[in-house]
């Protein structure tokens, strides 16, 4: 029975039990010993308010439900215009978008461009994980491992062998793909949840190895002084290193640190466009259809002659290689990497981007990546609560709109 007084009292009581010690009391060091102090009137005010909210919420549960039911679910796909005019308009809009993306950084602050570059990295990561989780339905919780492989590949190859950024991009992707292959083999037969935990373990293993193999990876201190990418050999620094020329010297303009930032941004745009195009093609090829079929019903796939081993491995490796790509760029942009950048929470964030965006839907993933990167920046005062809100968002979204912001739409195929 909802809405009864008993329920309300019970729920309020539960809230009190939950909060009384964990929130209501503070465990802290007083000098060298541990002591327990009351958490202060503020905190207790919040606790009692919370209890009150739960009490009245339960008491008037029916009315509250009705209220929430009236909040419309966002239907972003409805915003997309339909019809033939849209089809002729689309290429123009896309070109306008691309031009806008290329021109925009010259008109805004450096911080904004930097943020955009970070967003582009997460877009890449989201699209890559989208292949594994969204299309093929394989729960990968250790995606950050491939990201790390890409980053460390560039850092190490550049430091020990002087490979340039552009040379390392495909190498990083290839190496990450190899790791994806190696991880893929043992996990092929595993059911959903087990797969998730094993991949999580794999991600953690990579991080621990990176943290402890100090002789090669620099351990917790990581690797610093990573070379920035050059434009056909032109460096974006104030003074060129031996035998090279700087960008501003070549073009006869004054040095500005903004050049470097914009250059990195433009590289990111290029990489993202390549990734979007490639994945789009893959989705329309037999392998893309096979991934989705695998997600839908693995047994039916097997009965139709599809080799699930090959299909799963291809999803893993292609997803991993995208992360490797992104990792290589990440190392180049930061100039410094350490195992701290590759903790589990990153995998969780990327997974959240894929799921909240709408699994399989590229547009949804892009949108979600933008929201997840930009929102924390806008709500700077709440940065302490950032992770708390993130966790809460995941729980709430799954109850409210599990299909994501932009659920994937099936392609309409011409029958000819």
């Amino acid at each position: 029975m909802r809405g009864s007084l008993y329920n309300a009292i019970f729920a309020a009581g539960i809230t009190l039990v939950l909060a009384c010690l964990m929130l209501g009391v503070r465990l802290g060091a007083e000098g060298t010993t541990l002591a327990v102090t009351g958490a202060g009137a503020d905190r207790w005010g919040w606790i009692l308010a919370g209890v009150g909210v739960v009490f009245f919420g339960q008491l008037f549960a029916n009315q509250v439900d009705a209220l929430f039911g009236r909040i419309p679910k966002p239907n972003l796909s409805a915003l997309k215009p339909q019809g033939s005019s849209w089809n002729t308009l689309k290429p123009w809009l896309l070109s306008a978008l691309v031009v806008g993306l290329l021109v925009w950084p010259f008109m805004v602050s450096r911080g904004a461009v930097d943020l955009a570059t970070l967003t582009l990295i997460y877009i890449m990561l989201g699209l890559g994980l989208n292949i594994v989780v969204g299309l093929a339905g394989l729960l990968d919780l250790g995606y950050v491992a491939f990201y790390a492989v890409g980053a460390y590949t560039y850092a190490l190859l550049s430091e020990y062998f002087g490979f340039s950024f552009w040379m390392c991009l495909p190498i990083a992707a290839l190496l990450a793909a190899t790791f994806g292959f190696i991880l893929g083999f043992p996990v092929l037969r595993l059911r959903g949840d087990y797969l998730a935990i094993v991949t999580l373990g794999f991600g953690e293993m990579i991080r621990i190895l990176l943290n402890n193999w100090t002789s090669i990876t620099g351990g917790p201190n990581g690797i610093s002084g990573i070379e920035k990418p050059t434009l056909f050999g032109l460096e974006f620094s104030r003074r060129a290193s031996e035998g090279n020329q700087t960008f501003h010297e070549f073009f006869g303009i004054d040095y500005s640190s903004g050049h470097k930032v914009i250059f990195l941004y433009l590289i990111a745009v290029l990489l993202v466009i390549i990734v979007i195009y490639l994945i789009n093609r893959l989705m329309r090829m037999p392998i893309g259809r096979a991934w989705e079929a695998l997600r839908e019903d693995e047994i039916a796939c097997r009965s139709l002659g599809l080799n699930r081993t090959v299909i799963k491995l291809s999803a893993f490796t292609l997803g991993a290689s995208t992360a490797g790509f992104a990792g290589c760029f990440f190392a180049a942009r930061q100039g410094f990497i350490s195992p701290e950048s590759f903790i589990f929470i990153e995998s969780a964030i990327i997974l959240a981007i894929v799921v909240l965006g709408g699994m399989g839907s590229q547009i949804g993933v892009i949108l979600a990546a933008i929201v997840m990167t930009i929102l924390p920046e806008l709500a700077r005062e709440f940065s302490d609560y950032r992770m708390l809100m993130f966790g809460l968002l995941m729980v709430v979204m799954m109850r409210w709109r599990p299909e994501g912001l932009v659920p994937m739409k099936r392609p309409h195929l011409e029958l000819k």
């Binding site: 539960i14 039990v17 939950l18 010690l21 964990m22 929130l23 009391v25 503070r26 465990l27 802290g28 060091a29 010993t33 541990l34 002591a35 327990v36 989780v133 339905g137 729960l139 919780l141 043992p186 996990v187 037969r189 595993l190 959903g192 949840d193 087990y194 998730a196 935990i197 094993v198 999580l200 373990g201 794999f202 953690e204 293993m205 621990i208 190895l209 943290n211 402890n212 047994i299 589990f344 929470i345 969780a348 997974l351 959240a352 799921v355 699994m359 302490d384 609560y385 992770m387 708390l388 993130f390 966790g391 809460l392 968002l393 995941m394 729980v395 979204m397 799954m398 109850r399 599990p402």
Partner: protein
């Protein structure tokens, strides 16, 4: 006995100690997985909350002065079990029950979200730094060997852990096998739908499963908190992962399996830390997990499953 074998014995003692606490946490995972087929990602955080509550109660009672240590610990245990169970119950009602019919990934995301939420909730409520408690139980029960070679010790703390976990697991086993509720739990784990049709309120049994798991995790929280002396809001992650490994090792869904898996994992970890660089001991857990899933996915005590087509 030689020095090497004394050293080995000490590692085994240490390993069994840690392992039995892993077992306590692992039981929570295995019971929940056995009944609703999902990994309770937030279970590690329940363990962490249990340890925080224990520390709070212990510190508070000790400050009040006149209580004897055993009484303090006992009260701390009860309060931690109560509050952790409440958290476990609430997590199920809020984050899992509404998603009961949905696909695996949705439930998993919700669980991960809950885990992240709880970690940061405690970090905000109690600070994200380590909290250290002065050792309360010291000294050893028995010592083997001599000071010239290597001295094997079994500390009082270790003995306490052994005794408490033994009592707990025995009680749980008796409860599951003898009591009516326990039978209902087993029935639900076998066939949830059928049990429902037979008139048993499966929702209550599921809640009970979460509550029991949480209570056990709280016990582990108290014991490990006392053993290590330090806690922070993020200990649930690693502990949860290892406990899950133990559950899978022993056979997911099997309570004796969780106990066995915990002990095996504990001993393997201790031996690894003793003979290899200790940072790699965490890697051992994952290595074991991958190995067991490759070669015997149903675990040591699990029944081989035949895929129904």
């Amino acid at each position: 006995m030689t020095e090497a074998s004394l050293y080995l014995l000490q590692q085994i003692i240490n390993g069994l100690t840690i392992g039995s606490t892993y077992a306590l946490i692992a039981i929570g995972y295995t019971m929940v997985y056995g009944i609703i087929g999902m990994i309770n990602f937030a279970h590690g955080e329940i363990y962490m909350i249990g340890s925080y509550v224990s520390f709070i109660v212990i510190t508070g009672l000790l400050a009040m002065g006149s209580f004897a240590l055993p009484l303090v610990l006992f009260i701390a245990l009860l309060v931690a079990m109560l509050i952790a169970s409440t958290y476990g119950w609430t997590v199920e009602r809020v984050a899992y029950r509404p998603l009961r019919g949905s696909n695996r990934l949705i439930a998993l995301i919700s669980a991960i979200g809950m885990s992240i939420f709880l970690q940061n909730y405690v970090a905000l409520a109690q600070g994200s730094r380590d909290v250290a408690l002065a050792p309360l139980i010291s000294g050893s029960v028995l010592e083997l060997g001599s000071l010239d070679t290597f001295e094997v010790t079994l500390s009082w703390m270790q003995l306490l852990i052994w005794v408490v976990t033994l009592v707990t697991m025995t009680s749980l086993t008796l409860f599951i096998s003898r009591s009516r509720m326990g039978r209902a739990c087993r029935a639900c784990a076998e066939d949830l739908g059928m049990t429902n049709l037979l008139g048993i309120d499966t929702n209550r049994i599921i809640s009970l499963t979460f509550v029991i798991g949480a209570a056990l995790a709280a016990i582990a929280g108290l014991l490990l908190g006392l053993y290590y002396g330090v806690i922070n809001p993020f200990i649930g992650f690693m502990a949860g992962l290892k406990a899950f490994t133990a559950a899978v090792l022993g056979g997911i869904g099997s309570i004796p399996g969780a106990m066995l898996g915990g002990l095996i994992l504990g001993v393997t970890e201790a031996l690894t830390a003793a003979y290899f660089p200790s940072e790699y001991k965490d890697v051992v857990a994952f290595g074991l997990l991958v190995t067991i899933l490759l070669f015997r996915p149903t675990g040591i005590l699990g029944k081989p499953e035949v895929e129904k087509v």
